[in-house]
Assembly symmetry: C2
Homo-oligomer: 275 residues x 2
């Protein structure tokens, strides 16, 4: 018998050998997802992609029903990019009983999208934990476009001692800077054109900070004005936050994340950059 | 590539081979714990006992500080009963960062102890999930004395797709019926004598139900009167509940659990029986 005092040590005794990668998605796969899958493929022996539109992370007035579900095309994308398994459960398969167990990641989910989508990150954390428990990957891959999601998952994994590495993969953008998103397909031609202002405003804010501006309110004001100029955009939030717990920063003295959510018509878009 | 639609199937493809058993405890081991360890020893190849007094599950006015911690004796108990590993982490090892991730098991934790110890089952569920993630056992063992805890963990495991079997092990009792508990050592001789009324009252309630009484209020009334007779006991709750989600039952038509918490002096004791 051996008395063991650290997580690291007990884990070394019990560890299995496989190197499994998981890319959790809601389907409607685009080039951003492809980059996730390709990164995972290069780093793992066994590659699992999951496709599941998770009802738990949608609010009652959100787009769960109309969220795109082009399954045949999605399977083709997975096949082409070398997935070994695609996990495509039904809602019934994922929630066979009324779900009464929920995971909350406080603080990290407090601001930004967490503030405007109550229950969203509870739904995300809960379903991602379920998927991690089902697949038991060594690595799981998330896009940096959904930065708050990435950091919520990272903190959950750390707080719950999950033996999985959470890899963030850089955002893929259109030539005008628009971040790829399954929701871009909701935009008509005019809205699509206006949408490029989101990345432009974030980038301009980052430039001002890199040029020495320390007053977050000033940076924010300039960016919001730029977004409002289009006449088609409603700003939900535009925030400058610390890069770990995503708490708002007043005076910029170190690395920050600049994150925004906007509405164009009935479509909600988010994006973020570092500075 | 293969498209997989069920949890069962994907798991079969990814499964590891070890048969690990975990007995999570807060130490101060007694014959009830020994029975857990012995049951696990008989059923598993690798046996891990954890000893951790979890601050997260104690309320601000509860007995975290005075909870007994006889570590040398506990290690001896583990050794004697054939444990392969004893996991004895520090608080710092279990909570290296401020814990912001919490697991709630709603409904099952709503009544009984959940009502009188706000945050208790959130703390229990969170630490047990952490321990399960650290050890990754195939089976984990819990005493039926802490029946609500057992059912909270079971529902958490089911809701979160944890690949672990939660085994309940029957309560070990003193000759007068008192359930073994690490907290029994708080009782002085007179209190210890009075404590036997708890199991007597539960048993009498079970007898009345087995004899055909369907009115939960009547059963409850008789049992509470019996407990009050001692003059030393304050009843915190005495409830008749369904055996899955632990919701109070008015008219008894099927299997129930009868559960109670009492105070004797500054010591809180719980117990339960089936009927």
């Amino acid at each position: 018998m051996r008395a063991v005092h650290t997580v690291k040590e007990i884990r070394e005794f019990l560890e299995s050998e496989k190197n499994i990668g998981l890319v959790p998605t809601m389907g409607a796969l685009h080039a951003g997802h492809e980059k996730l899958i390709q990164t995972a493929r290069a780093e793992c022996d066994v590659l699992v992609v999951s496709i599941f539109v998770n009802p738990l992370q949608f609010g009652p007035n959100e787009d769960f029903a109309r969220y795109p579900r082009p399954l045949a095309q999605d399977l083709e994308v997975c096949e082409r990019n070398g997935a070994d398994f695609v996990f495509v459960p039904s809602v019934q398969e994922m929630y066979p009983l009324p779900q009464v167990t929920f995971v909350d990641v406080e603080r990290v989910s407090e601001h930004l999208c967490g503030k405007f989508r109550p229950g969203h990150f509870r739904g995300v954390a809960t379903v991602v934990l379920k998927l991690l428990n089902v697949v038991r990957p060594h690595r799981a891959y998330f896009g940096e476009k959904d930065m708050q999601q990435l950091l919520v998952i990272r903190r959950m994994v750390s707080d719950l001692n999950l033996p999985v590495l959470i890899a963030g993969v850089p955002t893929v953008r259109e030539s005008d800077g628009l971040a790829l998103s399954s929701r871009n397909r909701y935009l008509n031609a005019e809205e699509r054109k206006a949408a490029s202002a989101l990345h432009r405003a974030l980038q301009e804010a980052a430039n001002r900070i890199q040029a020495g501006e320390q007053d977050a309110a000033k940076v924010r004001q300039g960016a919001v004005a730029l977004l409002n100029d289009s006449g088609m955009i409603r700003v939900e939030y535009f925030e400058i936050v610390d890069p770990v717990e995503l708490q708002p920063v007043d005076t910029i003295k170190g690395p920050v994340r600049i994150a925004a959510a906007i509405w164009i018509g009935t479509t909600r878009l988010i994006d973020n950059v570092s500075a």
